[in-house]
Symmetry: none
Subunit: 400 residues, 2 copies
Amino acid sequence: MEWEELARELSQTTDSKIVLLVMDGVGGLPAKGRSELEAARKPNLDELAKGGVCGVSDPVFMGITPGSGPAHLALFGYDPLKFQLGRGILEALGSGVEVGRNDLVARGNFATFKGGLIADRRAGRIPTEENVRICAYLNAHLPKRDGVEVEVFPGKEHRFVARFTAEGLADALTDADPQKEGKPRLPTSAIVPEAAKAAAIVNRFLDDLTDVLKGEPKANTALLRGFSKFPSIPTMQELFKIRPAAIANYPMYKGLAKLLGMTVMDVGGETADLFDSLEKSYKDYDFFYIHYKRTDSAGEDGKFDAKVAAIEALDKFIPRLVALNPDVLVVTSDHSTPSALSGHSWHPNPFVLVSITAGVDDVTEFTERACGKGLLGRFRALYAMPLMLAHSLKLKKFGA
Amino acid sequence: MEWEELARELSQTTDSKIVLLVMDGVGGLPAKGRSELEAARKPNLDELAKGGVCGVSDPVFMGITPGSGPAHLALFGYDPLKFQLGRGILEALGSGVEVGRNDLVARGNFATFKGGLIADRRAGRIPTEENVRICAYLNAHLPKRDGVEVEVFPGKEHRFVARFTAEGLADALTDADPQKEGKPRLPTSAIVPEAAKAAAIVNRFLDDLTDVLKGEPKANTALLRGFSKFPSIPTMQELFKIRPAAIANYPMYKGLAKLLGMTVMDVGGETADLFDSLEKSYKDYDFFYIHYKRTDSAGEDGKFDAKVAAIEALDKFIPRLVALNPDVLVVTSDHSTPSALSGHSWHPNPFVLVSITAGVDDVTEFTERACGKGLLGRFRALYAMPLMLAHSLKLKKFGA
């Protein structure tokens, strides 16, 4: 019996409230002996560590560096090795493209087609403004085909997302991408017979697109990869009997939250907006996911000091969380983003849980090193959700 | 999705180097309040603990005492509950018998056959020299059979290994051993139809052997158990895209390493030979497994002081490892061998990992007690390999 089945069986609705604050990528590595968290002045986060119990969590398991998708899935109680989201879905979510149950999405590249061959798989990395213009033109001029709606959404430079809406689409499709330059265009093909309809629709779209764009000097054809349908994944309501809300302002996290059945709040781009939104919606939901992006962005940019500043900036808002007095308050990261590595890493996340049932340990600081000595020990992030549900008394006893 | 699949997907070849030093059985138990590691003067190992991160690892899971086979498989990134090696294979590896893909091996006992019954299942534990003589005689006098090669290899006292080489052998065979004295000889039988050929070959061999040895007073027949073919196990190259080398001087470890695709170095019996070999081959491989046996031997003999001395002796060579400046250096044991128990045990292994991406903890000594407080926490030894690969940047990101 896996956690997912157990959750369905044991979860119960209560009035208690859970607040999960994700400081994206907050875990780091030392520079001159101190990590970003160790270098930051963050009295309020340290106060949480003093009052709660701490630990460190692995997003997938030791050594595995996760993308944001799997890392968040784990924190939300979904085994990231079981529920895998296709690249197309993640790209669509990241671009703010809405994806419904009948939709098939794919990641696209505009490319240059010359003398019957793909001359440039990235269309000379056309400027994003060009991409926006071309996508608008395509959406206006692609011929209408019976029973199918297609829309393209511009991304950065040569990248876009294509969304196909029709009955009976399947995503078992090979990439429509020859992978190398100097080769002819490659149509997609169905990996299973049920995907034949989708393959035909996609290939007709690619022909139509190439025809519509034949006057463009660079972006005159397209490659498509990572075909994905809306994944079949149970909602958080189904699994945990909670009313979840997401407070985030980046498309990827909003999209993922929506996929899992969360109500996604409309929030502005300032850090204060996250907390305003929480206070405003606090009475209407019982699980709040708050996403703070700046720690990750600074880490990705390799900027130690900016990451320290992002931690210190967030720290000032912690009293507003505490003032709401949630039954369970957790602060952690989805994955580490050490500025020393300028990217995601496999290092475990510092984790603090505050609740009247938390128990005690001797941790007095919210840092990797200190959390590593906490009562929660080292655990898979998948167990964050059972832990939060338990401390909010939302899980019944297993067995008699 | 399991680690094995994930490894195939995420691993990538890089120039970075990993050195894994296995101090066989180094974990122990206290006598007069201090374990063997706590009693030993080992400044260089402690220095590693200071500079790296520590933890304790369970070879299989808590409470399970592993043999050397499963314990090493786990450290090499193979789930020991999934990849099980037959006793015949382990016996063969332990005796230095080469085993190829067409070979079937079994553990043998010489036995005494009298009046149509097995009178002694161990042939009165004949001296090893007798065994050597009898095996040589058998290899010279067993009748040749078409399409089959058979060879016997002497072990200690009455034990030997039999190796059958032919096309289409299978190892689904019952033991050719009546288990009790006073019973008739028992032929093997095929558990599945595909093993019928192997059963016939084995039984004819047992008849031939009994015929050839009929003049012997004690060792005049044989029993065979644990039939095993070369296991179907992916190599470390396949799984991890590394070029692995094994620096070990006991047959069992060399054999196991070979089975997993490692290049096995020819090394002498002195501790210094291990490090000479490492230095000589350092440029040619990117993963080095170094096996130090003396800690285990002393533990098996129940000799606390000898085990302390073995730790101290090894400690002097640690600077030679450090001087090579590998991207990842791990020192751990495959399993514990407390001298108080004179054998393998289920206690977790102290583990230290040194790397510029290691992160920090407050551990300053390489002991069971100190490692238990390290940032790595307590983990299954199976995760040592993803951890080593991650810290040497040999694993790509999982998902987006």
